[in-house]
């Protein structure tokens, strides 16, 4: 028998990441969705820049260029929502079709699958949303130039911090959505988990004393990293810790759920 004489040493965690990457990004559907998210970001950026006068009560000509930039970056937030739903659907779809059994047959160490999926979804969502955020920023530049107004300074680190910070929203929420979908075995569960964190700051604002937990929520942390949290926002180092803690919590819950049950 040839099979017993071959090298059968383990394929390793790198193989699991390669498999998940191929699975997540290797379809025409995924590539079209990524392109769609970027296009949506550009469109939303254009709408928010062009309507900034009516929506803020301050005419475009009287806006600081940096504020027009941050308005355009809402386009990256729109892309983040799309990518978050896609991340949840990628997992939920596997449970719907039953393909997850092939996944766990190919890589029976389930913790490895959870980790590999987390790595790939953060990388893919991060890459797409960075393109979306840079594109959105360029839209604000076009709008400002078109109106004959002064442009934001591309040499200003605050500009790129805002862009990079906006691009962080997608990978973080896509990660939470992935974990939620693994935990609940459904797309809906993943979307709900991500949305819950997204609206948590708003809910906290309604509850007496809720403001105290704001610094512990990912929303404020993301704003802090983007440099747009305001003076009372958390320190960026604390913000990194907060995001890391939420990510670890979500992954640990998913890992625990996935390991223990039949598929």
């Amino acid at each position: 028998m040839t099979a017993s004489t071959r090298d059968l040493s383990g394929a390793g965690a790198g193989a699991a990441v390669a498999a998940e990457w191929t699975k997540l990004t290797g379809t025409g559907r995924a590539r079209r969705a990524a392109a769609g998210a970027v296009v949506l970001a550009l469109a939303v950026a254009a709408v928010f820049c062009l309507t900034i006068g009516p929506t803020t009560g301050v005419a475009l000509a009287d806006q600081p260029a940096f504020d027009v930039l941050t308005a355009s970056l809402l386009g990256a937030d729109a892309a983040a929502l799309v990518l978050t739903v896609l991340a949840a659907a990628a997992v939920g779809g596997e449970y719907t079709t039953g393909m997850v059994r092939t996944t766990f047959t190919a890589t029976p160490r389930r913790g490895r699958v959870v980790l590999a999926r987390a790595v790939t979804v953060v990388a893919a969502a991060g890459a797409v949303s960075l393109v979306a955020a840079v594109g959105a920023a360029l839209v604000s530049l076009v709008v400002l130039a078109g109106a004959g107004l002064p442009l934001w300074d591309a040499a200003d680190p605050a500009v790129w911090r805002a862009v990079a910070g906006a691009a962080l929203m997608a990978p973080f929420h896509a990660l939470v959505a992935t974990a939620g979908a693994l935990w609940s075995r459904s797309t809906a569960g993943g979307v709900v988990a991500a949305l819950a964190l997204l609206v948590a700051p708003t809910l906290a604002g309604w509850v007496p004393g809720g403001a105290a937990v704001l610094p512990l929520l990912p929303g404020e942390a993301l704003h802090s990293l983007a440099g747009i949290a305001g003076p009372e926002g958390p320190h960026p180092a604390a913000a990194v810790l907060v995001l890391a803690a939420w990510s670890a919590l979500a992954l640990a819950a998913a890992d625990r759920a996935v390991r223990g049950r039949d598929v």
Binding site: G98, F104, T105
Partner: protein
């Protein structure tokens, strides 16, 4: 080799698998037979580490599947050809599985060719016929060139040509000294495919026997038509046979061969209109083994057939 020991799977009050113990040896095709709901798929899922046994163990080459360092290069499995993402291409579906096992892209094209899907790699799975999906699933099982092959109902959805192809493939695998376990709910599917059969009914093993032995053990019967069935029946019963009346008025006789029935009738001057020896089919043996042929869903761990061929 696959070894299952005292394997039990309970879902609440339902016992799906009730203390199965068997070994699947290399070098032959082993059929895993039983009516739908007998616990075959549950057993295979436990062998593949997808479901956790309530108790007992299932190992492949001496270790649980989950602990094998490179599982898909040792064990190729197909549980459900429908459990795929229909939006993926055939090639894409195999490629991510290859990546998970550290197998190169060239092998993907190779197995597509092996299963007769060359030129279809770029097709979305949703555009493949049921038979082609079955072939794609088998291609996935072959990716790692495994020494152990586990296929759940691989003949489902295949056209006659496909069935012949799968049989050749399985027999070729076994000839190379590999271990082949193939489930089916149809005995006659396995007659021409398996060398050995494991028969389960209601989660229990009722036979672990060579196909040749099973055929030899199947009882023959004789159908007799006579204008005097009652007299003939009495005569045969006195001679030690077991006649029973069939719906069409004929007698069905077991425990006596056709020649002896004819001699007896002639000696006593009983007129015969027909005397037909009927060779028992494996199907009959299977239905007798599994009790009711699987028409009743599994509810409890009660009676599980006669067990006359259990070793």
């Amino acid at each position: 080799m696959i070894a299952v020991r005292e394997l039990v799977k309970r879902y609440g009050d339902t016992v799906a698998v009730d203390g199965l113990t068997f070994a699947v040896e290399p070098g032959r095709v082993t059929g895993f037979l039983g009516p739908n709901g007998a616990g075959k798929s549950t057993t295979l899922r436990m062998v593949l580490g997808l479901d956790v046994p309530t108790s007992g163990t299932a190992t492949v080459d001496g270790a649980p599947y989950r602990d094998l360092p490179s599982p898909t290069r040792r064990v190729g499995a197909l549980l459900d050809p429908g459990a795929v993402d229909p939006g993926r291409t055939a090639h894409g579906h195999l490629l991510w599985q290859a990546r998970a096992a550290g197998i190169g892209r060239a092998r993907v094209d190779e197995v597509l060719g092996l299963v007769g899907l060359e030129g279809r790699g770029g097709h979305a799975i949703r555009h493949l016929s049921l038979g082609m999906r079955q072939r794609l699933g088998i291609a996935g099982a072959l990716l790692g060139d495994p020494g152990v092959l586990i296929l759940d109902e691989p003949l489902n959805g295949l056209d006659p040509e496909g069935i012949v192809w799968v049989r050749r493939l399985l027999r070729g695998f076994a000839r190379e000294g590999r271990t082949v376990l193939v489930s089916s709910h149809l005995m006659n599917e396995m007659e021409a495919t398996a060398d050995h059969v494991l028969v389960v009914s209601r989660g229990r093993l009722v036979a672990d026997v060579g196909v040749a032995e099973l055929a030899a053990g199947a009882r023959e019967r004789v159908e007799v038509a006579s204008p005097d069935p009652a007299g003939l029946a009495a005569l045969l019963a006195r001679a030690g046979a077991a006649p029973s009346a069939a719906a069409d008025g004929r007698l069905v006789v077991t425990g006596m061969d056709a020649a002896r029935v004819g001699e007896l009738a002639a000696a006593h001057g009983v007129v015969l209109h027909a005397l037909v020896p009927v060779r028992a089919r494996l199907e009959d043996a299977f239905i007798r083994l599994t009790g009711d042929g699987g028409r009743t869903p599994v509810r409890d761990a009660g009676t599980a057939g006669e067990g006359e061929w259990v070793r």
